[in-house]
Each structure stands twice: as structure tokens, then as C-alpha cells.
């Protein structure tokens, strides 16, 4: 039992860190440019497809990952310059409509190019097996994901909280006019943030590709989770995104693993088998509703 909990906690950590890669870009675009980007999940999907296709072409996971992430960054650049730049000043409804349209286009384009079947993406062979940690075996590849996730989280923190560019980003979020009048090119800054967010999406999509199926529609479910994360954490806050990701990742994973057996101990088997999966899937939404009920601005409001 203890081992199960330990293993599931690690799984939750891994899932949470990947959610963070998505939520970080989303919360910056959302918090700084005040833009609802429903197509953020589509960038994740397209990124995963890029990685899978490049991996097949180059026959190396690492080259594939690099090429895929670069490709997604270029796509992000094109989207920002042609579409998103016009959306920042518009109301939320226009943004919802435009990015919903992008989802339709992305899903259909992917289906047209790679077909409706899921793509297979294998982890690098060196990491395919399990490793022993503290008396139990855990997949090496998942450990790698945890390591990469932690490294990116640290890098992001240093970038946003300690670097000059990060200071510009925060300043641009707090007051665009004043930042511009100080001679900082906020437009270029926003473009850079958006491109960076797109690259992080592809990184998450590529890393998760071997664990999940690379298929059409994979972006939608994860998009909703990423939104839950940034709402829990507070829109625009990187720290909030990290805490929110870890909460959502562990609660969701542990809930799915432990709730059914927990309920079976408390309720008649019949009721438990119906209620268990249902409760496990809605746990994070309950959590979010509860957090919003007590803290309507999220745990770490970016703007007081």
C-alpha cells in the first residue's frame, strides 16, 4: 500500500510538472496580455505531432524533440504576428471565438496531414527500462520527465523573477503604457513570451508523447486542466502556476488511484464502483470550485 502511494505520488509529481509547462505559458499570455487562448492545447497537440514526426524522420528521440520544439516555436511566432497581435486589445468573447476557430483548424489540419489514427512515439531506448529507487522500481523515462520539469521550473523562476527580461515582462503586465514610455518594446516582448509559451507546449507534448497517445483532440482535455491550474494558482502568477500544477497533478493522480479502494471500504460495493470513478474525475473541479469560493482570485493573485 505504501509503495502504491509512493509510486502514485511520483506519477502525480510528473503529471503536475508537465501541466506546469503548459500552465506557465498560458498564465503569462493570459495574465500579461489579458488574452484567453483556448488554442494553447492545440499548440501542445501540434507540438507532440511535430516531435513524433521528426523522431520518425531522424530516428532519434532527442533530435526529434529539438526539431519539434523549434517547429512549434516558429508556428507560435507566425500565429502571434498574424493573429494574436490583433486579439490582445479585443474583448474576451472575440478571443474565445477566434481561438475556438483555431482549435477547429488545428484538429482538422492534423487529421488531414497525419490521418485519424494515433501516432506512436517511443521513448529513447536507454530510458525504456525501470530503475530501482529506495526498494521499488520506477520507469526511468518518468524520472527524466520529472527532472526536465524541475529544471524548466527553476529556469522559468530565474528568468521571470531574477532576469532583466523577466523584469520587463512583469513591468509590461503591471502597466503597459509606462513600460513602453521607458523605452521597452512591449510588442516584441509579448511576441517573445508567446513564442516561449508555444515552445514549452511542444516540450510537454513531446515528453508526454511516449506515455500518452499522440492523437487528435489530445489538446482539449489537457487545456481544461491547464485552465484549472492557473485559476487555482491565480492568473498571471508563475509561482501560482507551479503550486497549482503540483496540486492538480497529485490530487488527480492520487484520487484516481486511491479513491475507488477507499470508497469500497466505506460504502457497499455497488455504490462504490459507480461513485469511485465519478468522484475521482470531478475531484479537481470540486477543489477549484472550493478554492474560488473562498479565494475568488486564486491562491497567489498576481495583481493585488
Amino acid at each position: 500500500m505504501l509503495q502504491l502511494i509512493l509510486e502514485q505520488t511520483l506519477n502525480g509529481l510528473q503529471f503536475g510538472l508537465m501541466l506546469f509547462l503548459l500552465a506557465a505559458g498560458l498564465t503569462l499570455v493570459f495574465g500579461i496580455m489579458d488574452c484567453i487562448n483556448l488554442a494553447h492545447g492545440s499548440l501542445y497537440m501540434v507540438g507532440a505531432y511535430f516531435v513524433a514526426a521528426a523522431t520518425q524522420a531522424a530516428d532519434s528521440f532527442w533530435i526529434g524533440l529539438g526539431v519539434g520544439v523549434a517547429g512549434a516555436a516558429v508556428l507560435g511566432l507566425v500565429l502571434e504576428l498574424t493573429l494574436f497581435r490583433r486579439l490582445y486589445q479585443r474583448d474576451h468573447l472575440s478571443q474565445v471565438l477566434a481561438t475556438f476557430a483555431l482549435i477547429l483548424i488545428a484538429n482538422e489540419a492534423v487529421r488531414a496531414i497525419w490521418g485519424p489514427a494515433a501516432l506512436l512515439l517511443n521513448p529513447p531506448e536507454a530510458l525504456a527500462g525501470p530503475v530501482e529507487i529506495g526498494g521499488f522500481f520506477y520507469p526511468a523515462y518518468r524520472l527524466l520527465i520529472i527532472a526536465v520539469g524541475m529544471a524548466v521550473a527553476l529556469l522559468l523562476y530565474l528568468l521571470v523573477a531574477r532576469s532583466r527580461v523577466g523584469m520587463w515582462v512583469r513591468a509590461g503586465a503591471a502597466n503597459r503604457e509606462i513600460t513602453e514610455s521607458l523605452g521597452i518594446n512591449v510588442r516584441a516582448l509579448f511576441t517573445a513570451v508567446f513564442v516561449f509559451g508555444a515552445a514549452l507546449c511542444a516540450l510537454a507534448g513531446g515528453l508526454l508523447g511516449p506515455l500518452l497517445a499522440v492523437q487528435v483532440g489530445m489538446g482539449e482535455s489537457v487545456l481544461i486542466l491547464a485552465f484549472v491550474v492557473i485559476i487555482i494558482g491565480g492568473i498571471g502568477s508563475i509561482r501560482g502556476a507551479l503550486v497549482g500544477s503540483l496540486i492538480v497533478g497529485t490530487v488527480d493522480t492520487l484520487g484516481r488511484a486511491l479513491l475507488p479502494s477507499l470508497l469500497r471500504a466505506l460504502l457497499p460495493a455497488d455504490a462504490a464502483s459507480t461513485l469511485g470513478p465519478a468522484l475521482a474525475s470531478i475531484l479537481i473541479y470540486l477543489l477549484m470550485a472550493a478554492i474560488l469560493f473562498f479565494k475568488p482570485q486564486g491562491l497567489f493573485p498576481a495583481r493585488a
Binding site: 474576451h92 477547429l104 483548424i105 485559476i231 470513478p277 465519478a278
Partner: protein
């Protein structure tokens, strides 16, 4: 935005369209295109659902991304009623409306404490909860949904023929639009729109802002529930897909295309979107791409919706 005021040509035009709709099944049968009666019914039902969202979104200023939950709840109530042996729409439909309304009351009571983006997301969260509940409810069919055993009867008359269901949907839409039209012009609608414009001022004037919003939200949920019950009768299935967030997104898109805050915005949007779908499917398997590009064009070139393109319908545009 300013106070909604119907354009002078709106009444004659809607009467003419109503007459055309009344003649539609006969005309389609005469042209040997009876297949399209089912499609027309679908359009009417989605026009009803989108109009109910327009009350919440356009007049109440509440951007709900969970409206499909009420649509789905209505569909499931209809299917469950039939499973329990109630095959009379006069009982099942009001029941569907009450359950959807009660659900909306709970969702609204919690969500309306938040503002802006947080409201969008919390309504979405509730819809997702409902979606997963229905997906895992095995006694109601789980993933596969709950099928209906044929259509219900309305006051003893069977809705089995496509014509009958078409007229039932038309009746529901006309009744809802008449109600919304009166409401928007009544004190309730004026206060609701004023709250949308300036919440703080209305609060200061002593209006119970929360209660007005909640009533509008519940009313929107009830009408969506009615649409869901009709939809279950049309398709013969109450499926969890009805509650998916993309469905809520589609309803939102309908309202935005049609024109947010125009009485007929929901109807116009539903007609345009479904007709586009139906036409594009005939041309290419990848019609979603074309639809997406058209939606982008609407955002960039007709930001206030199609209904706004036709003449001034708002007092601010009279000068």
C-alpha cells in the same frame, strides 16, 4: 453596449419568417426533400439553446462556458423519464426544465460570486463535473449515453413523425422568443442590462444585483433544459457528449456570430452555423478548416456579429 431596442422592421420580419417556417415541412415534402425536416428541427432546437445562452451572455453580461450542462441535463431527464415509464412530454419537458433550472440555481449561486475570467472558468468546471458524472453513471448508459425508445407524446399526440416534432420545436422557440422579447423590454430586462453596463452603480442604487443575475441565469438554464429534452427526442439519445465543453463553446460561438445582446442573435447564429456545417460537409471532408477560417473572418471583420450588420438595433446607434 447600450439598451437593446428592437428595430422597427423586426416584428414584421419575424412574423414573415414564422409563416415561412410554418409552411416549411409541407414545402420540403412537396419538393421531395423531407430529409431536411429533421435538420430544420435541429436548427430550431439549437436556436432555442443559443437564445437561452444569449439571455445570460448578451443581456446579463455573464460569459458562461458551461451552458451545455443544462442542455445535457434536460436531455437526460427526458430519457430517464421515459425509462421510468413517463412518455408524456407535458410532464417530462417541464420536469427537464425544473431539473436544469435547479442545477443552474446551484451553479449560479456559487459562480456569480466570481467575476470575469474566473466566472468563465468556474461555469466550465461545473459543466465538466456534470460531464464526468454522466460518463461514469453506468445505470444511465455511461459513455454510450441513454437511448430513448421512440419519441414521446405531446398532450396525447405522438411526436413520432418529423413534422410533429418540428412543430413542437417551433412552438417552443416562438414561446421562448416571445418571453425573452417581453422580458428584455420589461423592468427585469432593463435592470439586467443596466447591471451589465455598470454593476457598481446599480448596486449603489439599491438593486439586488446578485438576485437579478441569478434569476436570468436560472431562466437561461431552464430554457436550455427544454432544448435538451427536445434534442433527445430528435436524436433518440441522451449522450454525455452533449455536456462536453466543446458543446458549450459551440453555443457560445453561435451567439457571438449571431450578435451578442441582440434578441435574435442566438437564432441567427444557430441558423448560420448549422447551415454552414451542412453545406461545407457536402464539399470537403475537412470542412472544419473552412469553418474555422470563416469564424476567424467574423472575429476580424464583423466583431459585433451578423445581426449587428443589419441596421441599427440599439439606441446608441440612433445618436
Amino acid at each position: 453596449m447600450a439598451l437593446y431596442r428592437a428595430a422597427p422592421w423586426q416584428k414584421p420580419l419575424s412574423l414573415a419568417l414564422l409563416l415561412a417556417a410554418l409552411a416549411l415541412p409541407t414545402a420540403l415534402s412537396a419538393l421531395d426533400q423531407a430529409f431536411y425536416i429533421g435538420f430544420a428541427t435541429r436548427v430550431l432546437i439549437f436556436a432555442l439553446a443559443a437564445s437561452s445562452l444569449n439571455l445570460v451572455l448578451g443581456f446579463g453580461g455573464m460569459v458562461s462556458l458551461g451552458h451545455a450542462a443544462f442542455l445535457g441535463a434536460g436531455a437526460y431527464v427526458a430519457a430517464i423519464c421515459q425509462q421510468a415509464g413517463i412518455n408524456e412530454a407535458l410532464i417530462a419537458f417541464p420536469l427537464a426544465m425544473s431539473v436544469a433550472g435547479l442545477f443552474a440555481l446551484v451553479v449560479g449561486a456559487v459562480s456569480l460570486r466570481t467575476r470575469g475570467v474566473y466566472f468563465i472558468m468556474i461555469t466550465l468546471a461545473f459543466a465538466q463535473m456534470a460531464y464526468y458524472l454522466f460518463v461514469s453513471a453506468r445505470s444511465w448508459g455511461g459513455d454510450d449515453g441513454l437511448p430513448l425508445n421512440g419519441r414521446m407524446t405531446l398532450g396525447g399526440l405522438p411526436l413520432a413523425s418529423d413534422d410533429a416534432l418540428f412543430y413542437a420545436a417551433l412552438l417552443a422557440l416562438v414561446a421562448a422568443m416571445a418571453l425573452f422579447g417581453r422580458l428584455v423590454d420589461a423592468r427585469f430586462g432593463r435592470v439586467l442590462q443596466a447591471i451589465r453596463e455598470n454593476e457598481t452603480r446599480m448596486e449603489a442604487l439599491g438593486y439586488p444585483v446578485f438576485r437579478f443575475r441569478l434569476v436570468a441565469f436560472v431562466l437561461g438554464g431552464m430554457v436550455a433544459g427544454l432544448a435538451g429534452a427536445l434534442l433527445a427526442n430528435l436524436t433518440g439519445l441522451a449522450s454525455p457528449n452533449l455536456l462536453q465543453w466543446t458543446q458549450s463553446g459551440t453555443l457560445l460561438v453561435m451567439v457571438i456570430i449571431g450578435g451578442v445582446g441582440y434578441l435574435y442573435g442566438g437564432v441567427v447564429g444557430a441558423v448560420i452555423l448549422l447551415m454552414l456545417e451542412e453545406t461545407l460537409v457536402g464539399f470537403t471532408a475537412h470542412w472544419h478548416i473552412v469553418l474555422g477560417l470563416l469564424l476567424l473572418a467574423v472575429v476580424l471583420f464583423a466583431p459585433r456579429g451578423v445581426a449587428a450588420l443589419f441596421g441599427p438595433a440599439r439606441s446608441d446607434e440612433h445618436g
